[in-house]
């Protein structure tokens, strides 16, 4: 039983936001399995909060497509399948290239610095072999590109998919060779964006996604259903 507590560091966040993050994570790591229905009273008891923030989190999970909701019955977990993962990479392949192109056009110096710093840290932890940190930095790198694209729809779409991607990445980046390749590919993309080379940024990004996708397809843990 995990209780949600207010600490000084996250005092700004409201309970319903924390409940949302918690439930999202729990679903993604498989604590709640596909088809399982979530009970408001039980959850509020476990988390030490009332039903109100639980319900508000449910409405968010519903919009993020992580649960399905039926009036007077409640929410059941959707989880995601191997097909969903392939789906995500197909869609990413389609739109992340364009996002990188837009980033090359519109990126601010602030975000360029953010990317540079992220890359340096990524290099450091890749040498060190810290998969957890690498995965986190990978996310930061990609999100910087999303934000740089200046496209509201691309940002929203990619960020929504991203919480699925993060989960997958945790597995694929535990392979040191894939981690090293990822760093090299990121570096090349960064330089293309730095040089405002739209065409190259797009091509390299597409290749990067394709590589990640191919790695996943042949990975035994990920080619099977993940719920």
């Amino acid at each position: 039983m995990r209780r949600i507590e207010r600490r000084d560091t996250d005092a700004a966040l409201s309970l319903h936001s924390k409940v949302f993050e918690q439930l999202k994570n729990d679903i993604l790591v498989g604590k709640y399995k596909q088809g399982e229905s979530l009970n408001e009273l039980k959850l509020s008891d476990e988390m030490g909060v009332s039903r109100t923030p639980i319900r508000e989190a449910f409405r968010q999970l519903e919009r993020e497509d992580l649960v399905t909701y039926t009036p007077n019955i409640g929410v059941v977990v959707r989880g995601f399948s191997a097909e969903d993962i392939l789906d995500i990479y197909q869609v990413r392949l389609l739109i992340e290239g364009m996002t990188a192109r837009r980033a090359a056009e519109n990126i601010t110096t602030e975000l360029l610095n953010e990317m540079e710093e992220t890359l340096e840290l990524e290099k450091f932890y890749t040498l060190k072999g810290d998969a957890q940190q690498i995965s986190m930095l990978d996310s930061r790198f990609h999100e910087a590109i999303y934000n740089a694209s200046q496209s509201r729809m691309l940002i929203k779409t990619l960020k929504t998919m991203h919480h699925y991607v993060k989960h997958i990445r945790n597995i694929s980046l535990s392979n040191p060779e894939r981690a090293k390749n990822t760093y090299e590919e990121h570096k090349a993309i960064y330089e293309a964006i730095l040089n405002r080379d739209r065409e190259l940024a797009e091509i390299l990004t597409e290749q990067h996604i394709r590589n990640a996708s191919e790695y996943i397809e042949k990975h035994p843990l990920l080619s099977k259903t993940v719920d």
Copy 2:
């Protein structure tokens, strides 16, 4: 033990769902303008419900990117700009073609019938010149393709964008010539999917989006900020 089935005719929507639909619509038609903050108590008073369903609707609007939320302060309307509209059509151009391709591969007879019926009605109302109905049927046509694609991410992404698109369509389809062209283009796409011609379905859909986009760009009402 008798199995109890839930018919979809007895919609019995919960209040928070209705509040969500209402607020979404109000934002899209411009009742609440960009930057305007939404007051829970005021809204619950106006709508004759308590704050609870209002807040739950807020959490949904937040996830749909229609408002921005700040803890302890509340939500403010995001609205959408001319750039956002161009954004939407650029992203649609990128992914609806692929969606149609997938639909051609995976569509069920049930959805084919749905498309056919939609098209017939569209023809009827186009001749009649009922812009309201045409717009609704246009949405139905595209959503049938989304659903046929069997891709969870494509469905989610496109449907999320779709509520913006619907609003734009209401304006562009009031032009009888554009309405007629739209019908012809839909019919061609339908036949490509019916014949399981992936390539053609993709190409025609891309062209269809491109046409719609071009019409919008030169439309005086839509080339300016719409909030």
